[in-house]
């Protein structure tokens, strides 16, 4: 019954429609959650006037955004000004395509003849169709991922697409014809370039371990157990890479303490100073949807995706991602979304705890802190994995319990090494005076010439 339905409406379309709309609604409600968490940390109650407990606040905000005047100041670059919010939304929703929301569904279909086999779009046949003995009727078994696009280069695709988000910020800053917006755009660009590197390195650490770029396979590899009871999530064997990735996501999402691109105290509103009405709405919404998507990547890479011990992924230990139950698929999507919500909670919690970094601190942290540590972690992981011959299972190299302990030990060693090395590093001097010709700090020029 449901299998027939899938041949008409393929699962990827269902996932696309459901997740797209859920994300749009979630973005609005995440703003409310953000305000609530902000007020709780500041001993306040938060918005509670519109609807019960303030639950209709996002609706009121949405109406406000729509009916406000869409103002564009005189000398803006009209094309780029318009396209920036569009890019913002486009990028985050494109990245959504490769997130493995619900694993793989396995179903069976009865066809009238071996020549007229029709399976859902995006599905693959498992084995040959078998005759049922009733005339020419055959039964085929198919597998279809509950994911918009099961790309075998999923991770690569994500890095590529998410890096495009900076274009929106830079375009918005440039097109506004406003010094503050422009500064915000420049800051965002430099920050992205710096933080892409440790982010990529920590992703490579994970990719190295499993020898695959498919997010679906990476998630499936984590839906197993070490020593029979510890879930084989990457956070337990690569905690350092997890923390590096989490920090980089804060920077990628332009959120505090890395929100230099929209630092209210210095840059008015940063890159969206000149934006109003729904254009501003799209930029803000893009930011929140981006947060959901990057958290989804984090969950898929380090927190086992839809897997939760005792709840999901226990049907077939040899092939954890395949399930024949649709209830299981729904449960997996719920587990996935809950994990994302937890990560977003951490994002917000961090935002209302930490003050913003100074710009040189931001750069120092990326180039002197995150990049060396994640590079060390990546090379170390590569060495461990190179000398530990592993047989691929279904094309994926799995990590055994002892290997996980070795990798964990490697992480601890990395921490100790950098604790020692940090003491020996030359100190940065952010207040040194640059001896630029023409600068008033230049001792080679007599003071009289400066006036």
């Amino acid at each position: 019954m449901i299998d027939k339905f899938f041949t008409i409406v393929p699962p990827w379309l269902i996932v696309l429609l459901v997740i797209f709309n859920v994300l749009l609604g979630a973005a609005a409600y995440l703003i409310l959650l953000e305000r609530k968490i902000a007020s709780w940390t500041q001993d306040r109650i938060g918005p509670n006037r519109v609807g019960p407990a303030g639950l209709l606040q996002p609706l009121a905000d949405g109406i406000k955004m729509f009916v406000k005047e869409d103002f564009r100041s005189k000398n803006t670059d009209k094309f780029m000004f318009t396209i920036a919010p569009i890019i913002m939304m486009l990028v985050v929703f494109t990245a959504m395509a490769v997130i493995p929301w619900g694993g793989v569904y396995q179903g069976t279909l009865t066809h009238e003849s071996p020549d007229a086999i029709s399976i859902p779009h995006g599905a693959t046949l498992v084995g040959d169709p078998e005759p049922t003995g009733n005339g020419t009727e055959v039964v085929s078994t198919y597998r279809v991922p509950f994911q918009v696009f099961d790309a075998n280069i999923g991770v690569l695709f994500l890095i590529a697409v998410l890096a495009l988000a900076v274009y929106a910020v830079v375009f918005a800053g440039w097109a506004s014809n406003n010094k503050y917006s422009f500064l915000g755009g420049i800051r965002a660009a430099a920050q992205m370039v710096s933080y892409e590197v440790p982010m990529g390195l920590s992703i490579i650490t994970v990719v190295l371990m499993f020898g695959t770029l498919s997010l679906n396979e990476i998630t499936e590899a984590q839906a197993r157990y070490w020593f029979g009871f510890i879930p084989a999530w990457n956070i337990f064997c690569q905690p350092l890479a997890f923390i590096m990735f989490l920090i980089c996501l804060h920077a990628e999402a332009n959120r505090a303490p890395f929100d230099l691109a929209e630092a209210e105290q210095e840059l008015v509103g940063g890159y969206h100073t000149e934006y109003s009405s729904m254009r501003l709405g799209l930029l803000l919404m893009g930011e929140y949807v981006g947060m959901v998507i990057t958290s989804a990547v984090l969950v898929a890479l380090f927190l086992g995706g839809w897997h939760f011990p005792g709840l999901t992924g226990n049907v077939d230990p040899a092939n954890p991602s395949v399930t024949t139950s649709l209830l299981e698929i729904v449960l997996r999507i719920v587990v996935y979304l809950v994990k994302i919500l937890v990560i977003i909670g951490v994002f917000m919690w961090v935002r209302w705890t930490l003050p913003r970094f100074r710009y040189d601190q931001l750069m120092n942290m990326a180039w002197r802190g995150l990049i060396p540590i994640s590079l060390f972690g990546m090379v170390g992981t590569a060495v461990v994995i190179y000398f530990w011959n592993r047989e691929p299972v279904d094309g994926v190299l799995l990590i055994s319990g002892t290997q996980a302990i070795a990798l964990l030990a490697l992480n601890v060693i990395a921490l100790v090494v950098f604790a020692v090395a940090a003491k020996m590093l030359p100190k940065a001097n952010p207040n040194r005076k640059l001896q630029v010709p023409g600068s008033r700090f230049n001792p080679t020029q007599p003071a009289t010439q400066l006036d």
């Binding site: 940390t41 001993d43 306040r44 705890t353 930490l354 940090a422 003491k423």
Partner: protein, 178 residues
């Protein structure tokens, strides 16, 4: 400034955990979590939800308003016969640091006092609610009440005259005795 008055302060050295950011970050996260928990736990509601809940309805030891000492809108007290206590001595308008009390004295129609206020205007927009007038008054005529809701549509409306101030006395005397 003399040389020996100058104190050179050493910049505190970063410890290892400071240098790594993360341990200190976790301590900070703990602090905010403590505050979050304080607010969202069932008995953690310490804020007065103003329009629904008012400070004057709460007991004083639970953050309620202490009516006798609250400094809100003024009133002019009356005696037993309904006459204003004020004898137009100008003590309050002299003591007023904001110069918001304007009194015009006239000859008293009653034999027990020489003067009485013909006009007694208080500009509630200029008033800083310091309570100096109340302290200066020799006949306990002017007092600050616990009324804090004072609205008007024009500046003129916010200048309370004698009739209005006596009316406030009638409104508040029941729950705020002289």
């Amino acid at each position: 400034m003399k040389q020996e008055d100058i104190i050179l302060v050493e910049e505190p050295q970063l410890t290892l955990s400071d240098g790594f950011y993360l341990p200190q970050v976790f301590i900070g996260l703990g602090t905010t979590m403590k505050h979050m928990w304080k607010t969202i736990r069932p008995s953690g509601d310490i804020v007065v939800q103003y329009p629904e809940e008012r400070r004057e309805d709460r007991p004083v030891d639970e953050g309620g308003m202490l009516r006798p000492t609250y400094r809100g809108v003024h009133r002019l007290n009356k005696d037993m016969e309904g006459r204003p206590n004020c004898v137009a001595c100008f003590m309050c308008s002299t003591a007023c640091p904001a110069k918001c009390i304007h009194i015009e004295a006239g000859e008293s129609p009653w034999p027990d006092r020489e003067k009485y206020p013909v006009k007694f205007d208080i500009d509630e927009l200029r008033c800083i609610y310091c309570g100096m007038c109340e302290e200066a008054c020799p006949c306990d005529a002017i007092e600050l009440t616990s009324i804090y809701k004072l609205v008007g549509t024009s500046r003129q409306e916010m200048i309370l005259d004698k009739e209005k101030l006596l009316e406030i006395y009638d409104q508040t005397i029941d729950h705020e005795p002289m």
